[in-house]
Symmetry: C2
Subunit: 206 residues, 2 copies
C-alpha cells in the first residue's frame, strides 16, 4: 500500500464506505460495485472509485469489489483492525448514552471507563461501568494507556478537560460539548453538536 | 443581502461561526475579529473573512465585527431567527438524551414530541415529554406541521422511518442510526455517528 498522504476529505469518507460495506457483509453479500455504493451513499460512483483507488487496486473491472477484502483493507487503513479503549468524560445524558451505545462493537472501539465530577454520580452504575471520580482520571487514563476519549461535559469545562486529557497521552477526542475546543499539532479533535447539523439544513428550508 | 447560492461547504461553517459568536455575546463581548475567531476555531482568518463576506459587509476594516449584528445576520441566514419544532423518533438511550438536551435553547430548535414503537416505553416520561405511540406519529406530525426530525432508532428501521417522515412533510432529518439513509431531492439529511468521527481520527494515529 503506498504511503502518500490521503487528503483529509477522502479520509472522512472512508468510515462511510466501511460502514456500508460492513452492513453488506453482515447481510452475507460478497460483491458490490461503485454503482451500488453510490446509490446507498449518495456519493458519485466516480468519486467512490477514485477514493478507493488511492489505496490500491481493490476492484477488478467488471467483477466489482470483493466486500470482505475491502472491509479488511479499510479496517487496516483506518486502524480499526484493533480495538481502541475509550474514556468517556461526563456522565450526564449524553455521556451515559454513549457509554451504553451498542454501536461500537466490531467497529474498532469499546468504552472502558467513565468519569464525572458530581459526587451524586460517582459510584453509580451506567451500563456495566461504575462512574469514577474525575480527580482520579489522570492516573487511570495514564495507567490504561488510553488514546481515545469522548468529552460530554458542559461547554464551560470542555477545553480544560481536553487539556488534561492531552497531558496524559490522549491523542483523539470526540467532543459532544457545544463549543469548539483546540488541541495542539499532532492531536485530533472532532466535534459533534446536533444544532450545527440542524442549522446546516434549515439554511435550505423555506 | 444577495441571493446567489452559497457553496455547501461554506454553509457548513456558518453554524460554527454562529456558535462561537453567540458564546462571545453571552460573555458580553461586543466586538471580535477574524483573527480572534481563527484562534478559537482553527479556521484561517482569511477563510473566515471570505466566508462572511459572501453575505455582505459585516465588518469594518480596522474596527472588527460587531458581534450582536453578526449573530443576528447569521441567525437570519441559517433561518434560526425562529424556533423549529423537532420530533424525535426512538426513545432509547440516544433519543432520550437528545430529547432532554438543554443545548437547543436559543439556537433555533426545541423538541416537542418523541415516539417509540416499544409498548414498554410508550406512555413513560422523558424529561417533560410523554413517549407517544409510533403508530400515531403520522397524524401528530402532520397536525403540528413539523419540518425537522431526529431519528434514533435501530439501523434496520431508520430508512423506513425516514420514508414515513418525508411523506408527512418533514424536510430535514438528523439521523443517529448507524446507517446511511437516503431522501429525495429537496429534502435534507445529516448523519451523526460517533464511530465515523472516531475512525476519521484513528487513521492519523500511530
Amino acid at each position: 500500500m503506498d504511503q502518500k498522504p490521503i487528503p483529509d476529505i477522502v479520509v472522512g469518507r472512508l468510515p462511510i464506505y466501511l460502514r456500508a460495506l460492513q452492513r453488506m457483509a453482515d447481510d452475507n453479500q460478497r460483491l458490490t460495485s461503485s454503482q451500488e455504493l453510490s446509490e446507498r451513499l449518495g456519493i458519485s460512483a466516480a468519486q467512490i472509485r477514485k477514493d478507493l483507488s488511492q489505496f490500491g487496486e481493490f476492484g477488478k473491472q467488471g467483477t466489482g469489489y470483493n466486500i470482505d477484502f475491502l472491509v479488511a483493507q479499510l479496517r487496516q487503513i483506518l486502524k480499526v483492525d484493533r480495538v481502541w479503549d475509550i474514556a468517556v468524560i461526563g456522565a450526564g445524558d449524553i455521556g451515559s448514552a454513549v457509554a451504553r451505545y451498542q454501536g461500537f462493537a466490531n467497529r474498532g472501539f469499546r468504552v472502558t471507563m467513565i468519569f464525572d465530577i458530581d459526587p451524586g454520580k460517582i459510584g453509580t452504575k451506567i451500563g456495566p461501568f461504575v462512574v469514577q471520580d474525575y480527580t482520579t482520571m489522570i492516573d487511570a487514563i495514564r495507567q490504561a494507556g488510553i488514546r481515545v476519549a469522548m468529552i460530554a461535559v458542559p461547554a464551560v469545562s470542555a477545553q480544560a478537560v481536553a487539556d488534561e486529557l492531552i497531558k496524559v497521552g490522549v491523542k483523539a477526542i470526540l467532543n459532544y460539548a457545544p463549543i469548539n475546543i483546540n488541541v495542539p499539532e499532532g492531536f485530533f479533535v472532532q466535534h459533534t453538536d446536533p444544532v450545527t447539523h440542524l442549522q446546516r439544513m434549515t439554511y435550505y428550508l423555506e
